[in-house]
Symmetry: C2
Subunit: 228 residues, 2 copies
């Protein structure tokens, strides 16, 4: 009869529009305050407070108090992966938003996904890394290869002190392919911003490439027909 874990509780938490919007905002990987999340959720402060308590109690997000602010983040990687997967199903079944924002194409092109690069560019990057043998896949897990380590060092990516699993695939809702996730994904993301190749749009998950950044990106992670 009734078997296995109780999924309805978790799903119900995500099932409220205000909470779903808050969680989606947290997918950017940035820690957000209660007020910011109230804005994202489209509700007043008391309502947001109540929602946030429920999300914390449900283990979906965690809080860190800093001065008079409270910073919220997604609790674990698996939450981000779950949300990304939900977006995949929602996109496939045509449950896009009523008013499609102008940022939608930009969002599909490049965006932050819980601290790593997602969208068309993110998928292209992982595909290039696989093609060049920088990483290799095993049963849905990803492993970094010596060539990858070398390349990452050359790019100046901080790879020391990363926790296992260093890299893992993350299914992309807009591309329906994997992009690079895990600690390595986050480290690369950080480095690409440091290098000035791309920049986060404020208050958005959208990531914008500079002209030079795009050029460099295409050299290091070419679309196909690897020449390097």
């Amino acid at each position: 009869m009734i078997e296995g874990p109780n999924i309805s509780g978790i799903a119900a938490l995500i099932g409220d529009p205000a909470r779903a919007n808050m969680l989606t905002a947290l997918m950017s990987g940035k820690a957000l305050t209660a007020s910011e999340l109230a804005l994202e959720g489209g509700v007043m402060a008391p309502t947001a407070s109540s929602h946030l308590q429920k999300l914390v109690a449900g283990g979906l997000i965690t809080v860190r108090k800093q001065g008079r602010h409270k910073y919220y983040t997604l609790a674990e990687d698996d939450i981000a992966e779950l949300l990304e997967r939900l977006m995949g199903v929602a996109a496939r079944t045509g449950q896009m938003r009523v008013r499609t924002g102008p940022k939608d194409p930009a969002l599909r092109r490049a965006r932050a996904c819980y601290g790593h690069l997602a969208g068309n560019m993110g998928v292209q990057m992982l595909e290039a890394m696989l093609r060049d043998g920088m990483v290799a896949g095993h049963a849905g897990a990803l492993e970094i290869m010596p060539l990858g380590l070398e390349k990452m060092r050359a790019l100046g990516v901080e790879i020391e002190g990363l926790k296992l699993p260093v890299c893992k695939p993350c299914l992309d809702w807009s591309e329906r392919k994997n992009h690079l996730g895990g600690q390595l994904g986050a480290a690369v993301f950080k480095r690409l911003i440091e290098l000035g190749w791309m920049r986060r749009r404020p208050d958005s998950r959208v990531v914008a490439f500079s002209a030079e950044g795009l050029r460099q990106f295409e050299i290091h992670f070419p679309k196909d027909g690897k020449i390097l």
Copy 2:
């Protein structure tokens, strides 16, 4: 501000206990009738009817009418994967059911996951297949190798006419590792039952191995220390 697909609709559909139980029941891969699903959901027929309509409208399940019965199944593979992932999060955050059923250990050991073998045994099988080079992983996708084809034929698995992707990994909520999914996973599952190595428990996702089946399984998909 508000970006990306609208996840709250899908999540809300799964967020109701009755609907969640129905969906969990459908994870067995069997097509179930409205009455059976009413029983699984713990609600009366009219209520179930209403729920099923919503699930169909939301694209989570599909109906097939046959005589005076209506058979419901999960709409797509990605729904099953989403549910399995939800179970993973639910299990991690300790949202197990209030009254843990006696079948819980059996469920963790071997169960049907939308038509393929999941649980400890399922994970063991995929790991053995990877170790022996029967399948290989690429960026979260799985590919069958010549050796795998040969072995599958030897076992009598029906591998002709499978649609791509033939096999793919599916994250297991109880093991937090991947098991073999996709068309190949379903074909192997079917064959193992045909061979009498295992049998489905009625009205449950639990799969029980026979003594001989277990022996054979351990020979073909050994835990580790491949000898074959």
